[in-house]
């Protein structure tokens, strides 16, 4: 009964049983609570929770290559992380390193919005590639590896078209990039801007016959903070549109911005279809 009251009071609500060290919740023994590790039932909290690299899935490309895609889950609502490329943030084999984010937003507090950042980068391997690709993140001494699962049917996804409520990826051009679509969309730059100056961000989209598109800009890589004049815009239009906004940077360095064009949030749950674009930016002092 006191256990039940404890449950209702919300103190201990879940246990991870027989898990390896990093997977454990509160573990109890004769001396009482013996392990205070990270995973509580209330696992989305202001601070102190891990940052998790999440393998989202893989898909076949028309040219015979295959692509694996990752997102991240920052389970903190206040804590954001900068983890530069290097020993704490790397993709192996090394030839696939470099596109992963270094800037990790906190989980949004509001419940209606999905908290995970899905498919933020992708790695394409040759058709005859054997083996897997792994993204490793180390934050506060906790190392988490996220291997791809190429070949596993349960993790296969679509990229350009699907029979879902967001059935097609729009076409996208970032600045002067070629047109791209899907998770490995267009990549542009580098463009150069000085600290504190406004960088115009130009985006061209062919939305096809989608009725609504949600466009978001994100700080993907780079030190300091990026401020967008308009981080999100909702476009109620079909066909070709051009969008513009401005970004400013607080510190010099090499940056990458990411832009997503999503029809509706259920595209994320369904793993299709939307488009990611990337822009390299060199910020001078």
């Amino acid at each position: 009964m006191s256990m039940r009251i404890g449950l209702l009071a919300g103190t201990v609500l879940a246990l991870v049983l027989h898990a390896p060290a990093e997977g454990q919740n509160e573990v109890w023994g004769a001396e009482g609570r013996v392990d205070f590790s990270e995973f509580r039932i209330a696992n989305v909290v202001p601070r102190g929770q891990p940052l998790i690299p999440v393998f989202e899935g893989w898909f076949n490309n028309p040219d015979g290559t295959r692509t694996a895609s990752w997102g991240y889950f920052n389970l903190n609502t206040e804590e954001l992380f900068h983890v530069p490329l290097g020993p704490d943030n790397f993709v192996e084999p090394a030839e696939f390193d470099g596109m992963q984010p270094t800037y990790f937003l906190p989980a949004p507090d509001d419940r209606g919005r999905r908290r995970r950042h899905e498919s933020v980068f992708a790695v394409t391997v040759p058709g005859d590639y054997q083996g897997q690709v792994t993204w490793t993140l180390r934050v506060r001494g906790l190392t988490i590896e996220s291997p791809s699962s190429f070949g596993s049917e349960a993790y296969e996804m679509l990229n350009i078209e699907s029979a879902t409520s967001s059935p097609v990826s729009p076409l996208m051009r970032v600045a002067d990039s070629p047109v791209g679509r899907g998770r490995v969309g267009p990549v542009a730059g580098p463009v150069t801007v000085a600290v504190g100056e406004s960088l115009p961000l130009e985006l061209w989209l062919d939305l096809l016959d989608r009725e609504r598109t949600i466009v978001d800009w994100y700080h993907h890589q780079g030190p300091g903070e990026v401020t967008f004049a308009q981080q999100e815009s909702v476009v109620d239009a079909t066909g070709e549109v051009e969008l513009q906004t401005l970004a400013t940077f607080s510190e010099p360095g090499e940056y990458m911005l990411r832009v997503t064009a999503l029809e509706n949030p259920s595209a994320l749950v369904q793993h299709c279809c939307w488009t990611n674009g990337y822009l390299y930016v060199t910020v001078t002092p």
Partner: protein, 452 residues
């Protein structure tokens, strides 16, 4: 007909339904002497009662088990599947919670013992004169409820058509279709979902629908029909129904999986059986509602690699309620859920606990006389457990972090609860009625039991 008479008529009807569906009376079997266990005298009646519904030439089971000739080659496999309780599919934990269900197909320990003995003694036929008369099984084209309710559906609502690819990833079809053919409000007594036969049934992983109604510009939704292996229909409890009216729509959620053969123009149908127009039921049901098994505000589905985990969703009932069914929903990592009630007076009761098996979507329909009556303020606790280790045979990759999503490799976890809500007057009536029925059946009432 007065209220009580109708009540007992319906009670009788539902008992009839239970017997007609599963037609078994296990006591009959235990009267047999041990010794020579034969197919004709002992095993055939069990197969008729608990297996043939699916294992007939047109059923969902992979082989027919109607005759000795058909059954004999499978004897060792049958022994294994029944003694591990993998067959018949019934995943309620027999050791805790309420055990009386309208659609219980599980075998008694005695029946399992019979089958095991029969196989171990060489699976003999015995005396053919002992064979029970063969049963007629409905074709996959028929409505299953037609034979139980004595008439075809009063109204059939089709989905729109969909082309299922031969090969590739799963597909979803989510049309919204007007319910046509209603002159005025009608009360649904039962519903059944039927994909086309035979191909539609093979490609349909599940086909669910909700009733969509716009009231004062606001969309209201009530979980209505469900189809998944093991579960094509719903019969509401006595004197309880769901009202549909002109202008209502059915919002479908159909999940197809390709079978290596293209299926063009697939249409699923929902059949509706109504209460007589001049005898509407006294109570309305909210249908199937999805109760979370984790907290939506500060808990996310994040299951570490090579680990086991539990989550818990806590729900306070704002109104008096009666639960008539529950159905676990998880994907590949979830392995079961329990449903627990903490009553306002402090009693704690496990209402149900069931394992999860990804290919079965079984709705556990409580017998009317045990369907939990829950006063307002009752707290429902739904616990779900997950096994992301290699011990879980369904786990596609124990080294992967598992997060929420719709794809089979992502995880989902909620419990569909068939529930009706009542005002205080209705609830008092139902509690009194329950006590009366239990007394008639010679069962102590819930209030006198130690629930804790």
């Amino acid at each position: 007909m007065n209220r009580h008479a109708r009540f007992s008529l319906l009670l009788g009807l539902s008992a009839l339904v239970a017997v007609a569906v599963f037609g078994f009376s296990p006591e009959k079997l235990s009267a047999q002497s041990a010794g020579d266990v034969t197919f004709a005298a002992d095993v055939a009646p069990i197969l008729q009662a608990s297996c043939q519904e699916c294992h007939n030439p047109e059923g969902v089971g992979p082989m027919s088990l109607l005759t000795y000739e058909e059954v004999r080659p499978w004897a060792p496999m049958i022994r294994e599947k029944v003694s591990t309780r993998e067959m018949p599919p019934w995943h309620v934990d027999k050791n805790v919670g309420i055990q009386q269900f309208k659609n219980d197909v599980s075998l008694s320990d005695g029946e399992i013992e019979k089958i095991v003995q029969w196989v171990d003694s060489g699976a003999p036929l015995g005396n053919p004169a002992d064979l029970p008369p063969p049963l007629e099984w409905p074709s996959g084209e028929d409505w299953r409820l037609e034979s139980l309710l004595g008439r075809p559906p009063d109204l059939i609502v089709p989905s729109t058509s969909f082309d299922v690819v031969a090969n590739g990833l799963d597909q979803w079809h989510t049309p919204v279709v007007e319910i046509e053919g209603l002159d005025g409000p009608r009360w649904v007594l039962a519903n059944e979902t039927k994909p086309s036969y035979p191909l539609g049934r093979r490609v349909t992983h599940h086909a669910n629908s909700s009733v969509l109604r716009v009231v004062d510009g606001e969309e209201q939704r009530a979980g209505f029909s469900n189809f998944g292996i093991g579960k094509p229909y719903d019969i509401y409890p006595l004197n309880t129904g769901m009202m549909v009216q002109p202008g209502d729509q059915l919002s479908w959620n159909i999940h197809y999986y390709p079978i290596g053969q293209e299926v063009i123009g697939e249409v699923a149908e929902v059949g509706l059986w109504f209460y007589p127009e001049d005898e509407p039921p006294q109570f309305a049901t909210a249908g199937d509602q999805s109760f979370g098994s984790y907290r939506s505000d500060d808990q996310e589905m994040v299951i570490p690699p090579n680990s086991r985990q539990i989550t818990q969703g806590i729900h306070v009932l704002q109104q008096n309620a009666r639960i008539h069914s529950f159905r676990v929903h998880e994907h590949l990592i979830g392995t079961g859920q329990s449903l627990e009630a903490v009553y306002p007076d402090g009693r704690v009761e496990i209402l149900g606990k069931a394992g999860w098996h990804p290919s079965w979507h079984i709705t556990y329909l409580y017998e009317d006389h045990v369907a939990p009556l829950l006063p307002k303020g009752t707290v429902l606790i739904i616990t779900a457990w997950y096994d992301n280790t290699e011990n879980n045979p369904w786990n596609p990759d124990p080294n992967t972090w598992v997060v929420h999503g719709r794809r089979t490799g992502d995880e989902m976890s909620h419990m569909w609860i068939g529930i009706s809500y009542f005002d205080d007057g209705q609830f008092e009536y139902l509690v009194a009625e329950r006590e009366r029925v239990l007394e008639e059946l010679g069962i102590a009432t819930a209030g006198e039991e130690d629930g804790g």
